[in-house]
C-alpha cells in the first residue's frame, strides 16, 4: 500500500457510468464527477475504461527452477503490462509447489517484486506425479493460504485420487483445478486430432480425451459435493458437458484461454511451433462454441495459461518444441477482439470474467471488487480504440513465444494500479526501483 493519492478523471466504469475516481492509501475514497484534485496526482482518463484490476487464475511464472523462461519479477511485469493485478501461479515449478515452504517462497517473491499479487496454486499430488496427495492442508494453512490446487501440465487421471482430492479440499473451501487430458488417449499427441492432423502426419490429441475427463470429474464433484474448476476448456463437446453439469447443479467452474477464443488448428499447417500449445488449438466450430459459452455464462472466466519458454524451445522442429504461449500482455485485447467487439459480452462482463469471477473461484479478497468507494485500489485503465499489429514491443516478460505477433488486435492497457500505486503508468512499465520505493513508502 502506498500513501500517494491519485485522481483519475473522466473514466468510464464497466457499467457505462463516467466518473472521476480518487485513490488514497490503497483504497478508492471517492467517486463522482468534478472531484477535487487536492493533494492528488491527476490522471486524465477520458476515453479510457476503468476495470477492476485483472485476475489471472492460470499463470506459469516458472520460478523457482526455470528462470531461463520467466521469473516472478519478469512474469509479474508482463502481468502489469497486461492490466493484471493478481496472478495465480501454477505449481509446476522446480521444486514443485507441493509444500507449505515452496508456496510461501512463491508468495514472498511476489511481494518483493511488487508488480502484482502472486497467489500460489498448490500441487494436488506430490511432485505432480499423480500418485500421492500433496500436503494440501499445510499449504492451505500456510501464509500463502492456498485455495486452488492443480497438477496443471498433468491431469489427475486416477479416478480414486481425483475423488479423494476433491473431498479433501472441502475442509478449506478449496477447489481442484483440473487439466483435463486422458493420458492414455494422448500418448505422443502433437495437435488436435482431425482433418489437419491427418494431413500433417502429426499424432492427434482427440477432443474426447478432454471431454471424457471433464464428464468424469463433474460427476465426481457432484457425488462428493466438492468444487471443481476446469482449466483451459477447448472443445465444443466440453462446453456441452459443462452446460449439462451446471444444469444439474454441480459446483463446477471453467476457464477458456484467449488463444482458444481466437486461433484454430489451421495455423499448425506451417509447422510453426509458436502455435504448439496444450490443449491444442482446435477447429473453428470449437472457437465459435467457446465464445458463445462465455457469452451465456457456461464458461465462467478467461485465464491466460501464460506459458513462457526460451527461444530455443520454439526454434526447432514441431514435435521437439515445447507446448505453451505467453498471454498476459495480450489477454485483454484478445478478449475485446473475440468477445466484446462481436457483441458477445459487454465491459461489465469483461470485469466479471477477467477479475471478479476468477478472484471468487480462487477465494481471495481485496481483488476482483467492483470499483466503488471503499474498494481496494486495484484498477486497470484500458483504451479500447487503437487497432494495430501486436508486436514484440508489447511483450514485457522474458519470453517472446506469443502466437499473436503480427496479428491486428484492438486496445491498449494504459494504467495499472496495484495496491494503490501504478505498476504501469501511461503505457510505460515502472522500473523495479520505483516499485520498491512504493513498497517502502507503505
Amino acid at each position: 500500500m502506498t500513501t500517494r493519492a491519485f485522481l483519475i478523471t473522466g473514466a468510464r466504469l464497466a457499467d457505462g457510468r463516467t466518473t472521476d475516481i480518487r485513490i488514497e492509501a490503497g483504497r478508492v475514497t471517492e467517486l463522482g464527477a468534478g472531484l477535487d484534485a487536492r493533494g492528488a496526482e491527476t490522471i486524465d482518463a477520458s476515453g479510457l475504461i476503468a476495470l477492476p484490476g485483472l485476475v489471472d487464475l492460470h499463470t506459469h511464472l516458472r520460478e523457482p527452477g526455470y528462470e531461463q523462461s520467466e521469473t516472478v519479477l519478469t512474469g509479474t511485469r508482463a502481468a502489469a503490462a497486461g492490466g493484471f493485478t493478481t496472478v495465480f501461479a501454477m505449481a509446476n515449478t522446480s521444486p514443485v509447489a507441493d509444500t507449505a515452504g515452496v508456496v510461501e517462497q512463491e508468495l514472498a517473491l511476489g511481494e518483493a517484486a511488487g508488480y502484482a499479487r502472486v497467489q500460489p496454486i498448490g500441487a494436488v499430488t506430490v511432485g505432480l506425479q499423480g500418485e500421492r496427495l500433496a500436503e494440501l492442508g499445510a499449504m492451505a494453512r500456510s501464509r500463502a493460504a492456498v485455495r486452488v490446487f492443480s497438477d496443471d501440465g498433468f491431469c489427475v487421471s486416477d479416478s480414486r485420487l481425483m475423488r479423494r482430492a476433491l473431498e479433501y479440499v472441502k475442509t478449506v473451501d478449496g477447489v481442484i483445478a483440473q487439466h483435463a487430458q486422458d493420458p492414455a488417449l494422448t500418448v505422443g499427441a502433437q495437435m488436435n486430432e482431425g482433418t489437419v492432423s491427418a494431413e500433417l502426419g502429426l499424432t492427434g490429441w482427440p477432443a474426447v480425451a478432454e471431454e471424457s475427463i471433464i464428464a468424469r470429474d463433474v460427476l465426481l464433484a457432484e457425488h462428493v459435493g466438492a468444487r471443481l474448476h476446469v482449466c483451459h476448456l477447448s472443445t465444443a463437446g466440453s462446453v456441452e458437458v459443462l452446460r449439462w453439469a451446471k444444469a444439474r447443479g454441480a459446483q463446477v467452474t471453467a476457464e477458456v484461454t484467449p488463444h482458444h477464443l481466437l486461433l484454430t488448428e489451421e495455423l499448425v499447417r506451417g509447422y510453426d511451433p509458436r502455435y504448439k500449445v496444450n490443449p491444442p488449438l482446435r477447429r473453428q466450430e470449437d472457437v465459435d462454441a467457446l465464445r458463445l459459452a462465455v457469452a451465456d455464462g457456461t464458461i465462467d472466466i478467461v485465464a491466460t495459461d501464460h506459458a513462457p519458454h526460451p527461444v530455443e524451445a520454439k526454434e526447432c522442429e514441431w514435435p521437439a518444441a515445447a507446448n505453451g504461449m505467453v498471454g498476459l500482455e495480450s489477454a485483454l485485447s484478445v478478449v475485446q477482439a473475440t468477445l466484446v467487439d462481436p457483441g458477445h459480452v459487454g465491459w461489465s462482463d469483461v470485469a466479471r470474467i477477467l477479475s471478479e469471477a476468477p478472484a471468487r473461484i480462487g477465494r481471495i479478497t481485496g481483488q476482483g471488487e467492483p470499483i466503488a468507494v471503499g474498494s481496494t485500489a486495484e484498477i486497470t485503465l484500458y483504451d479500447p480504440s487503437p487497432v494495430r499489429p501486436f508486436g514484440t514491443d508489447r511483450l514485457r516478460g522474458q519470453a517472446v513465444n506469443s502466437p499473436f505477433i503480427g496479428t491486428e488486435l484492438p486496445g491498449r492497457v494504459v494504467w495499472t494500479f496495484h495496491d494503490g500505486y501504478p505498476t504501469l503508468a501511461d503505457g510505460e512499465l515502472r522500473e523495479p526501483d520505483d516499485i520498491a520505493a512504493e513498497l517502502v513508502r507503505a
Binding site: A198, W318, P319
Partner: protein
C-alpha cells in the same frame, strides 16, 4: 523449384514435368557412360536423422550421376545425437556451402521448418519426414505406374483413370500420404484399405475411397496394389491383435495374388516383411515392380535434384 517438401503442393503440370525429366534421366542410365556433368560444382548434403540406407544410397547415386559433390551427414553417433539442434546443424551446412539438403527426419514437418527457417539458403528436398510425406517415393511410384501403363509413350501423360489401392498402415505412412495427393493430382483413383485402427481420423476430404476389406479390393481388379510395410510392434499398441491376424486379413498372400488380374502391378516401397504384409511369391511375381521401383527411384531423384539445383530451361541430359 525452390524446395520439394510435399506432393500436396505439386500441381499436375509440375508433377508431369518432373516425371518427364525422370524419363530423360532414365534414358541416360542406359548409356555406356552414365554420369552427366549437369550439377558439377554443386554440393548436395544427405542429412539423415533417421537410418535409411536404401533411400540415402538412392539419393547418393542420383547426385553422383549428376556430378554433384555429395556429403553424407548421418545424425546417429554425431553431435546431433548429443543434443545439437536442427538449427545448429543447418547453420553448419550453410557454412559448408551446401546447395541442396536432402533431409530425412523422424519429425513430421522438419523439412518445412528447415526451408522456412532462414537458417540455410539451400534448397530442401524432403526424403521422408515422420508420418507426413515422402514425395520422391510417391513420384517414383507414379513413374513406375506410368511406365507400366504407357511404356515408351509415357512422356507428357498422367495417370488418368488408373486405379490404385494402397493397403496397410496408412496412419503412420508418409508414403501413403504422398501417394494419395500425387496420384489423385495425376488423375488416378485411389483406394485405401487397412484396419480402421490404422486409418487416420479426418480423411473425409481426402481424394481417396477408404475401405477395410482387402478381398473386395483385390476382386475389384486394381491397376496397382501397393502394400505398405507393417511394423509388427504396432500390435503392442493394440492397433491389431497379432501379426498372424494382420497377415490373414490385410496381407497379400498367394490366394489373393492368384485372384489379382494379370495387368495389375504389385508394389511395395520396401523394405518388405515377406510373409507378413506380402508373401514371398507375391514379392517375386512378374507383376511385382519392387526392383523397378528401386531403379526408377534413382531417375526420379536425379530429376528432383536437377529441378532444385539447375536453372530451368536447359536440357538436363546434355
Amino acid at each position: 523449384m525452390r524446395h520439394l517438401l510435399s506432393t500436396r503442393s505439386l500441381d499436375r503440370d509440375a508433377a508431369v514435368r518432373l516425371l518427364d525429366i525422370a524419363e530423360d534421366m532414365a534414358d541416360t542410365q542406359t548409356r555406356e557412360v552414365r554420369k552427366l556433368p549437369t550439377l558439377r560444382g554443386k554440393t548436395v548434403v544427405n542429412l539423415f536423422f533417421e537410418d535409411s540406407t536404401r533411400t540415402r544410397m538412392s539419393f547418393e547415386a542420383a547426385a553422383k550421376r549428376l556430378s554433384a559433390d555429395v556429403i553424407n551427414f548421418s545424425a546417429k553417433g554425431s553431435s546431433v545425437s548429443k543434443g545439437e539442434s536442427l538449427k545448429d546443424t543447418a547453420q553448419t551446412l550453410q557454412a559448408i556451402g551446401a546447395d541442396a539438403v536432402v533431409i530425412r527426419h523422424s519429425a513430421s514437418g522438419a523439412p518445412q521448418t528447415l526451408a522456412d527457417s532462414g537458417w540455410i539458403q539451400a534448397g530442401v528436398l524432403n526424403a521422408g519426414d515422420g508420418t507426413h510425406e515422402h514425395p520422391t517415393q510417391a513420384l517414383l511410384d507414379a513413374f513406375t505406374m506410368r511406365r507400366r501403363r504407357h511404356g515408351a509413350a509415357s512422356r507428357g501423360r498422367d495417370l488418368d483413370g488408373f486405379r490404385v489401392t494402397i493397403v496397410g498402415d496408412v496412419l503412420h505412412s508418409r508414403v501413403a500420404r504422398s501417394n494419395v495427393w500425387l496420384l489423385s493430382t495425376l488423375g488416378a483413383e485411389v483406394t485405401l484399405v487397412g484396419p480402421p485402427t490404422l486409418m487416420p481420423l479426418g480423411t473425409a476430404a481426402w481424394p481417396a475411397t477408404i475401405g477395410y476389406d482387402l478381398d473386395a479390393a483385390v476382386d475389384a481388379g486394381p491397376d496397382a496394389l501397393m502394400m505398405l510395410r507393417i511394423q509388427a510392434e504396432r500390435m503392442n499398441d493394440a492397433y491389431f491383435p497379432n501379426a498372424r491376424e494382420y497377415s490373414r486379413l490385410w496381407g497379400l498372400d498367394d490366394r489373393r495374388l492368384s485372384r489379382l488380374p494379370g495387368r495389375s502391378i504389385v508394389m511395395h516401397p520396401g523394405p518388405m516383411n515377406r510373409g507378413l504384409e506380402i508373401s514371398a511369391r507375391a514379392a517375386d511375381d512378374p507383376r511385382s515392380s519392387v526392383l523397378e521401383q528401386v531403379a526408377n527411384g534413382v531417375s526420379v531423384r536425379m530429376a528432383a535434384l536437377y529441378l532444385l539445383l539447375s536453372g530451368a530451361g536447359e536440357d538436363p541430359t546434355s
